[in-house]
Symmetry: C2
Subunit: 429 residues, 2 copies
């Protein structure tokens, strides 16, 4: 047979079983948290009509995989989950109950140059509440972030919170440049410090005085001081309300803070904005979001308030890998491997059925190699128990091996089943 | 705001929460069965290089969404999950433990003309064992089909089994036409009856005698008779072994049968073939598969035996919808909605946290409308319980409404929690 050299398309990944289990663990924990808060899942197509995608991503539009179908219809692979959400809300408005609490965990595609940690295909995980302007919704989203990270065993994180309305106010105060220019300059703080922000502002033609005002605004200590700086502004009132709700939800204070330097330099935010940073490793934010009251309505012809967050699930997985945060055995590929000899093969199959009926994940070796190969297979797949169906089966007995503890016993069938059943119930799902 | 008319791309679907829950129910049950048998999940990219896809699908190649990326690299959206599996086995051979028991439940895309029940984007669900020629593997795959359908509450189904080697033998016997032509003619039986098969064969230039032999082969009653028809043929020996294993696995006889008329007219099968039909509604097969020892190796330069099945998950869902086979309440979007008045809003949030901590899926109304709107929201979303945080909370009490039974009580917080907790544990996950 001629060998054809093959590989996957650059920037896209295969997920083999071991990695897949870790990824699924993260997805399952997140999903459990979302459901626990009354959010519901939706899915949308990978392909959207070009007119849905075009004009929504500014400069980044060139990163959309765009092509024509056989009839010449222009289409593109979805770039994020927010524009599809806006389309869904417009197209299915009559079928949706508002406030619409939805989550979506799906792939998106970017025709980008692949680099370490930057892929052309990756999962996004978005949680949004559409159809209410209440700060209750923003507080609910922040609670979900907190719960999700805690359940994944993150501890060293802070959810930074600000209000885009205060950046609008700041822009008005200094009367120079554009709001977006100021927001983007503020975003430089993390990487380039104060000097970087000052340079960015002056390079945009903002005066020295203006720049100093922005820097002063970024050094405001708490909401009380912010109230002095901005006066009785709507942005302050919203944050006060939001923080009082977060407190009621019982999030410990060390996990969130008012951060006057947070800007999130995208043009669609209209209210509270929030992102989560971990202190170690330095990887940037692992969640990002905020209120965006004017985006969801673009296809509906009416303004529809919305707030939400992306959980950077690929970054979260990367951090968890780096810090070894996965539980030691998330879920073995099977609890037990049933091994057999030619003369006990049929009996082994009956045993496999028996174990499975008892709720035990029982693999049976599907090849016809000898015991040595079968044991190797169990150990390569990290299956914790092995059952050998040998001649003892005539007396109703099985050999049971615990591969981790390297023990071996001969037990009656029922007892062997019980032994493994207990193991599975001891948190070793 | 100007309204932009939008819709999704034809032939692709949005899945809104209610439908999504039913789909997820099916996916979860299937996944549970696969895991219970020691199969492991993998995922592969949506986009494959064109050289991986081309030349694999015959005439159907034109149904692949094909395009070029910005660098002019020709790629396509994956058309099925089998060719990607072959690529994965070649590309990651050193990382895979064989026999490789893998399942994959992902979308595939077809640039087809959309029709009722035929989509341009749909899920495939494949279960395969790669790397062993043993009939143990085929029996294991058939057991998975049986278990999966039983767990989904199917009863009126039969898994038909034949061996492609017997069609090779039949072809040899009559010495006319090609094996594939004979197989495809046999496939006409379901839709066009014997006459249809005869016509198809003679139109392919097969003699009257030859056609009668094929028809006689299709009327063989059981394996014993088949042994007389074909003699001590390898195809017969495999089926005898396979049936003896299926019996050991404990599958009741009414759910499977030797069907000499089953042909599965694809060119890559090399051994046992199997498909499942339901008697009602007439929808064709809901699973299809078999042994294909020469396909997986195409990229590896060596023959790698494999067997497996597709579960037609979209058809399975369609049948379940049509026959009303979903459990009445699969999983409500939340167990309880927490309702509030402006003066009890904060207390309501603390309550929501309390309920959630106890493992209850508690939604809190995220808007600021009155109680009437909040109750409407609960009933529209089919949330079974409502908790009203009213002035009784001063005495530590809550109003609890059971929306289905239309009852209302005022209970201490702990008792209200217990009431809902009991409901969730009564099979109402």
């Amino acid at each position: 047979m001629a060998k054809q050299e093959v590989r996957s398309y650059r920037g896209m990944r295969d997920f083999l079983p071991e990695q897949m289990r870790r990824r699924d663990y993260v997805f399952r924990v997140l999903e459990e948290v979302f459901k626990n808060h009354g959010f519901e899942k939706i899915e949308t197509p990978a392909i959207e009509l070009w007119e849905v995608l075009s004009g929504k991503y500014g400069e980044e539009e060139k990163l959309i995989y765009k092509f024509s179908d056989r009839k010449g219809r222009e289409v593109g692979l979805r770039y994020d989950l927010t524009v599809p959400l806006a389309r869904v809300v417009a197209q299915h408005r009559g079928e949706i109950v508002f406030p619409f609490k939805r989550y979506q965990m799906e792939r998106v595609w970017r025709a980008d140059r692949p680099q370490k940690g930057r892929y052309r295909e990756f999962y996004q995980c978005d949680v949004d509440i559409v159809g209410t302007a209440s700060m209750l919704a923003d507080a609910e989203v922040i609670t979900v972030i907190y719960e999700a990270l805690i359940r994944l065993n993150f501890d060293n994180f802070v959810i930074r919170i600000n209000n885009r309305k205060l950046i609008t106010a700041l822009h008005k105060k200094i009367g120079e440049g554009s709001e977006l220019e100021i927001a983007r300059a503020m975003d430089k703080l993390d990487k380039k410090g104060k000097e970087g922000v000052r340079e960015e502002l002056t390079s945009r033609g903002i005066s020295r005085n203006g720049a100093e005002t922005v820097l002063a605004a970024m050094e405001v200590k708490d909401l009380e001081e912010a109230r002095k700086f901005y006066g009785d502004h709507q942005g302050i009132k919203e944050l006060e309300e939001l923080f009082s709700y977060i407190k009621e939800y019982g999030i410990p204070e060390k996990y969130y803070e008012y951060d006057p330097s947070l800007a999130r330099g995208l043009d669609y935010y209209t209210g509270p904005i929030f992102e989560t940073v971990v202190k170690e490793p330095r990887i940037g934010s692992i969640t990002g979001g905020g209120r965006y009251d004017r985006l969801i309505g673009i296809f509906s012809g009416t303004e529809i308030p919305a707030t939400g967050t992306s959980l950077g699930v690929e970054r979260i997985i990367a951090v968890m890998e780096e810090l070894g945060m996965f539980p030691e055995e998330i879920e073995p590929p099977a609890h037990v491997l049933i091994c057999h000899f030619p003369e006990t093969r049929k009996k082994a199959m009956a045993m496999a059925s028996e174990f499975r009926r008892k709720g035990i994940r029982a693999d049976i070796y599907s090849g016809e190699k000898g015991l040595r190969a079968q044991l190797g297979y169990a150990s390569d797949r990290k299956i914790p128990f092995v059952i050998i169906v040998g001649e003892e089966i005539k007396e109703g007995k099985l050999v049971i091996k615990n591969l981790k503890e390297k023990t071996q016993e001969t037990l009656p069938v029922e007892e062997a089943i019980l032994r493994i059943k207990i193991f599975t119930q001891n948190g070793n799902k």
